[in-house]
Symmetry: C2
Subunit: 128 residues, 2 copies
Amino acid sequence: MDVTSDTLEPLHLAGCANVAPVLNRVGDKWSMLIVMVLATGSRRFNELKREIDGISQRMLTRSLRGLERDGLVSRTVTPTIPPRVDYELTELGHSLRLPVKALGDWAIEHIDCIREAQKRYDARESEG
Amino acid sequence: MDVTSDTLEPLHLAGCANVAPVLNRVGDKWSMLIVMVLATGSRRFNELKREIDGISQRMLTRSLRGLERDGLVSRTVTPTIPPRVDYELTELGHSLRLPVKALGDWAIEHIDCIREAQKRYDARESEG
DNA sequence: CAGAATCCATGTTGATACTG
DNA sequence: CAGTATCAACATGGATTCTG
């Protein structure tokens, strides 16, 4: 079976094993938000922290490390005092924006439909 | 700012709030795997359990409930003895396949690149 | 400024046993 | 067959404190 099949058949199991880690990163709480911000240009650590509302220092560090490890973000240290560290999307990071945007557009397009389904479900739940 | 902007600008904060729950479901361990299987046709509970390697009964139940609540999967009970329950994708569920496939294709296309980046990162880590 | 280290609350997943 | 209930293990996320 061809992994790069462009039909809408389900991904076979080997394919899923490859896709899972990506889905995992995409699905985590902060990574895609960071990618979205870096999509507009490089940022320093505290710039990101200020722009991404609610993220803790710890999670920003961890998420950036994860993105760097996956080759989606590059980290450039300028050893001045105080130190300066710039983060920016790699080419790979930029290429991820398109499929993620497709998903984001889907979400925005169907969010009302989803919320209504949830309301109906919850209503049925609470009544019995 | 228009939520449905089709540029590649970062999603604004309100947009992200809408996208987050979808990313959350897409990113969870089993939901998209279930969607992939159901994409080929409806299944009974234990058929899904057999086809999705490694999923526990509990997680299959929970994932299906989540998908049902979001309106992505429909659940049809036939009250025979033994009971029969069929799951299938709703129209909304089917519409999600395209953007998820885009992401899956991206993953498959770049998995080697990612793995190499991870190796390089881990190598740098371990040496210091 | 850019983090590392620590501790803790919470959420997620899985194994097991039981049920209509 | 298609679940529910319970418990334990682990992962995730956040607050706080400290450092070169």
